[in-house]
């Protein structure tokens, strides 16, 4: 992938991610997040991980986002009222996050190995084939366990959101 | 035999918790213990080395085994435990008079006795330590549930303080264990003593210091003594008797059993420090005792002060001094037990122990007044009681360390301070005795009842024990002689190398 496209998608991802934070309206936040995730899916694809990219679109930009919007609408949330912003918390948050980001930058600056180009691939099969082989071969047991986890989660959701019968 | 000695109070305690008649079961158990101890004493009197040994390996990988055995010193301690335990259970209030959990009360007493017995009979470092810890928990319960005054604070204070002391001790013991070459490591005390005699135990000063301070906290060595007066003032009488009389002596026993024999040369390193601290015990705490305004806290402080004399004997580290220390452990255990028992009775009757409120109690309560006087005299070291020969031995042992030329040695200076302590102890004991028992009887106390006849034998029994030891101290000297010789042999064989 050309650097131009990469930077465009990276800008979309980060830009809409920032928009998620900045928007006061939760609906707008959720939609920004969806766009951010779409950009991320594009980045995945650019790394030749097409399967993961598609899953990302399906699960996050699709299912999870729908869920978010659904809940927002269910709860009938208005735009956040202006509350007294605690300056200390604001500064603390910005400083910590900024420090973290700068640490990341510093670490990457001292990671010369990462400055090489990605090695070329030669895929005999499509990506999904290899993933399927690995998933159902080596990672079969965790895969089943994940299935159980999702089952438990869905039952849990039902129990949690069931209205109390008076 | 020894296992039986440990098991009887444990079984009795469990039986009481399950609903057996508390007082009778407990009394039967301690009486059986007393008889067994006397049998053991007669059988093994004066025999060198460890007798009546029994051993069961538990975790061979760690070299851990349950092993018991006695020599002269531990026999002396077991005798003390049996005598004071018997008296303590005897003077414990009747179960029906206890407001809360009478069964638990007696079970706690028995657990303390079992713990002390186990600690004194163990030949394995692990059990030696663990049995003592076993006895701390019931002490906490006894003070916390049935104590008087600010009992909750006192219970927490003593427990946390002693637990910290035990923890320091544990560090010291573990450091000692790991300082031994790996192939030779063992928890068995006799094996360790053999190692020490062969010079295989590194004589690291700081390890001994840790052990000394750990034991020191348990014995209320100055300046780690502030737990004692408060705890003894709050504890119910039998608990105070057992703790001050027996359990506190675990630390001293530990020094004589583990500290000195295993690290005689490291011990020499800290002699001057120990001398300074023990003079603090005698003079500083002694003076603080004079200023006490309550009978129970005065006795608590006095028991701290007398630890100084025992430390003096240990610091002297020669035959007379060590024997004197062993004798004084025994003698002080008995005398302080009597004093605390009587104080408990007085508290039951008057509800107050402040000197300004008491006075002239000997008139309505002649028996208590008389026996308190005897015990007070015993505690200030008058002849006829066991404390006197013990203190004399300590002094002579101290002065046997001649100074350089005409100058006094550090030992002798400490000895002179300790002699002055005799004056101090006479001052506070007699002031206390006079304030509480002599003089004009306050109007409130005129009609008080003296001790009932069924409770008297316990006091008489303790007094008789201390007087027998006072009239024939040689019996006890001969009892601990092999042990003392053993300790000193380690020292001489090491310094020869």
């Amino acid at each position: 992938m050309s650097p131009t496209l990469f930077w465009i998608f990276a800008a979309i991802t980060l830009g809409f991610g920032a928009a998620t934070l900045i928007n006061r309206n939760p609906v707008a936040s959720a939609l920004s997040l969806a766009v951010s995730f779409l950009g991320l899916a594009a980045l995945f694809t650019s790394l030749s991980a097409t399967f993961i990219g598609i899953v990302q679109v399906l699960v996050y930009a699709g299912a999870v986002m729908v869920l978010f919007l659904f809940i927002i609408m269910l709860l009938d949330l208005k735009a956040e009222q202006r509350r007294q912003v605690r300056l200390s918390a604001l500064i603390g948050g910005v400083v910590i996050a900024g420090l973290f980001a700068s640490q990341v930058v510093l670490v990457l600056r001292h990671f010369p190995k990462g400055n090489h180009e990605f090695p070329p691939l030669s895929l005999p099969h499509p990506d999904a084939v290899n993933i399927g082989l690995t998933l159902f071969g080596h990672y079969n047991l965790p895969f089943q366990v994940i299935g159980v986890l999702i089952l438990v989660a869905s039952i849990g959701v039902v129990v949690l959101s069931k209205r109390e019968l008076n | 035999m020894l296992t039986l000695l440990i098991a009887i109070p444990l079984v009795a305690a469990v039986a009481i918790l399950l609903g057996a008649c508390a007082k009778k079961t407990a009394l039967a158990a301690v009486a059986a213990n007393l008889v067994l101890t006397l049998v053991l004493l007669v059988q093994n009197y004066g025999a060198p080395g460890y007798q009546a040994t029994a051993s069961t390996p538990l975790i061979p990988a760690l070299g851990l085994s349950y092993s018991v055995g006695v020599d002269g010193l531990s026999l002396l301690m077991l005798l003390l435990t049996a005598i004071v335990g018997f008296a303590a259970v005897w003077v414990a209030p009747h179960p029906e008079k206890l407001e809360r959990y009478p069964g638990l009360y007696y079970a706690c007493l028995l657990f303390i006795i079992a713990g002390a017995t186990g600690a004194f009979a163990s030949l394995d470092l692990f059990f030696f330590y663990a049995f003592h810890e076993l006895a701390l928990i019931p002490t906490f319960l006894l003070i916390g549930i049935w104590g008087s005054g600010d009992r909750i604070t006192a219970a927490w204070k003593v427990t946390i303080y002693l637990a910290l002391g035990s923890f320091v001790l544990l560090i010291g013991l573990l450091a000692l264990y790991f300082s031994i070459p790996e192939a030779a490591r063992t928890f068995s005390i006799p094996a360790l003593q053999t190692l020490a005699a062969a010079g295989s135990i590194p004589q690291t000063p700081w390890i001994y210091l840790t052990i000394l301070l750990g034991f020191g906290v348990l014995i209320s060595l100055f300046p780690f003594h502030t737990w004692a007066p408060q705890a003894y003032a709050s504890a119910p009488a039998p608990a105070a008797m057992l703790h001050a009389g027996v359990l506190k002596k675990f630390g001293l026993y530990g020094l004589l059993r583990v500290g000195l024999p295993l690290m005689p040369q490291a011990a020499q390193h800290w002699t001057n420090l120990l001398l300074i601290l023990l003079v603090g015990n005698i003079l500083y705490v002694g003076l603080a005792t004079i200023a006490q305004k309550r009978l129970d806290s005065m006795l608590g402080y006095s028991s701290v002060m007398h630890m100084g004399y025992i430390f003096l004997g240990i610091a002297a580290f020669n035959p007379i001094g060590l024997t004197g220390a062993a004798l004084l452990i025994f003698a002080h255990g008995l005398s302080i037990a009597i004093l605390f028992a009587i104080t408990g009775f007085v508290r039951d009757r008057t509800g107050s122990l402040e000197f300004t409120k008491l006075g002239g109690l000997a008139k309505p309560m002649p028996f208590l007044g008389f026996t308190f006087g005897l015990a007070a005299f015993a505690s200030v070291g008058l002849p006829g009681f066991a404390n006197f020969p013990a203190e004399m031995s300590v002094f002579f042992g101290t002065f046997a360390h001649a100074g350089d030329g005409l100058a006094f040695s550090n030992f002798q200076v400490a000895g002179i301070a300790a002699l002055w302590g005799l004056v101090i102890s006479a001052v506070y004991m007699l002031r206390g005795y006079r304030a509480a028992f002599l003089g004009e009887t306050g109007k409130r106390w005129v009609g008080l009842a003296d001790l009932s006849f069924c409770a008297r034998p316990a006091i008489i029994f303790l007094l008789a024990a201390t007087m027998i030891a006072g009239f024939r101290p040689q019996l006890l000297v001969n009892l601990v002689k092999p042990t003392v010789k053993g300790i000193l042999q380690n020292q001489t064989s090491l310094s020869a190398k």
Binding site: T20, A97, L121, A153, L160 | -
Partner: protein, 105 residues
């Protein structure tokens, strides 16, 4: 030329953004979104490393497997988390974190 470090930089910044969201926003739903962003940022670096560690011409699929599992678990987590938020909202009529302080001393 796009290098591994570029991806990692994007991943790190996205993570920081998500973290800032968790720290700064009061709406619990948005905080939740910030969490999702952090997860995805981690996913991005995982995939990037997977693509970087090529052997025999194939990417390291172990990394992609991990991403797969993360996505799955995250989905389950979102479902449960949102259900909890709904329950909370029913109990307290708010989604504002500063009103949800019952977990203190």
């Amino acid at each position: 030329m796009v290098t591994l470090n570029d991806y990692l930089l994007v991943s790190g910044l996205l993570f920081s953004l998500g973290f800032a969201g968790v720290l700064l926003r009061r709406n619990i739903l948005v905080i939740f979104m910030g969490l999702e962003m952090m997860l995805n940022a981690a996913n991005l670096s995982l995939v990037a490393f997977s693509r970087f560690g090529v052997a025999n011409g194939l990417p390291d699929y172990n990394g992609q497997m991990l991403v797969f599992f993360v996505i799955t678990v995250a989905a389950a987590e979102v479902a449960v988390g949102l259900a909890i938020i709904v329950a909370l909202y029913r109990a307290k009529q708010t989604t504002h974190v500063e009103d949800l302080t019952s977990l203190k001393f």
